[in-house]
């Protein structure tokens, strides 16, 4: 699979995240990878520590994966923590950039039903992005060799010709 640059990933996720936030009505949203690296965010300011939330969410994800394994599941689909005023949603999905996780914090202006609905649309939108196509096939050794040979031929022809 092709390796994607972090900047390319961040740019690709910006607009889908903005749409998710607008449609679902969540207050805070952050998209992270499995190691807790922030790829996109909305709504964080000094009051809410972005890096703290991202690393704690990555920790929750790792713990829940271990718990799921103990219960014979590969991984839980979503996680939802409901507080009196605020609720937290964690949803993960596979993409061309590996497994990613969306963390959303919302109050009574949204609901878990809405967040789940628009999370599915968000994931669908991400998967439709050309740079995020998880099904892009890996280049085989034979294809790589043939491509390298062609490039070298062209390089030397240009060198000799020039």
């Amino acid at each position: 699979m092709e390796r994607l640059e972090i900047k390319q990933i961040q740019d690709a996720f910006d607009e889908p995240l903005r749409v998710f936030v607008r449609e679902s009505g969540v207050g805070l949203a952050v998209l992270i990878n499995r190691s807790g690296q922030v790829l996109a965010q909305h709504g964080f300011d000094k009051v809410f520590d972005l890096v703290g939330v991202a690393s704690l969410a990555a920790g929750i994800n790792a713990s829940s994966r271990a718990l799921a394994n103990q219960l014979g599941e590969e991984q839980f689909e979503h996680l939802h923590h409901a507080g009196r005023a605020r609720q937290l949603f964690l949803g993960h999905f596979d993409s061309g950039a590996g497994q990613l996780m969306l963390v959303a914090v919302f109050d009574d202006r949204s609901s878990i039903g809405l967040v789940r609905l628009f999370f599915e649309q968000f994931v669908g939108g991400i998967r439709r992005l050309p740079s995020m196509d998880a099904s892009r096939k890996a280049v085989s050794a034979a294809e790589f060799e043939a491509e390298l040979e062609t490039s070298l031929d062209k390089f030397f022809q240009d060198l000799i010709g020039g």
Binding site: D108, S111, G113
Partner: protein
């Protein structure tokens, strides 16, 4: 999974032109139980309609325990939502449905739903 809402849903579904009936948790926008025809996306309807219902109740100052009813009309059909407490009855109607009959069925089902909530 059997829930106590099967009879209520069946009654709403028996109104002509009703394509879906759902018992929805108002705060969460999640389906508690439902019957829908093929092509009706129950979970999406529940999430979106519950959100509108909550906002409408807030905007009109409707209080818990009192009957609340919201009706959305569009080119393709209607959605009716009625409830008193934490649960609401929703109905998805096709364009040429008998809206009057469905309205009565949804409101009666909502009353019975509130009674069931009271027993729980």
């Amino acid at each position: 999974m059997r829930t106590p809402y099967g009879d209520l849903l069946a009654r709403v579904m028996s109104s002509p032109g009703v394509r879906g009936a759902l018992v929805v948790a108002v705060r969460d926008g999640l389906v508690v139980d439902g019957r829908v025809h093929v092509g009706v996306e129950g979970e999406a309807v529940a999430a979106l309609a519950a959100s509108l219902y909550r906002r409408a109740c807030r905007a009109t100052g409707a209080t818990e325990g009192k009957g609340r009813f919201v009706e959305l009309e569009a080119d393709g059909g209607r959605i009716m939502i009625a409830g008193k407490n934490d649960l609401a009855m929703m109905a998805v109607l096709q364009r040429r449905a008998n809206a009057g009959q469905a309205r009565v069925a949804v409101q009666r089902a909502a009353d019975d739903l509130a009674a069931l909530e009271g027993q729980a």
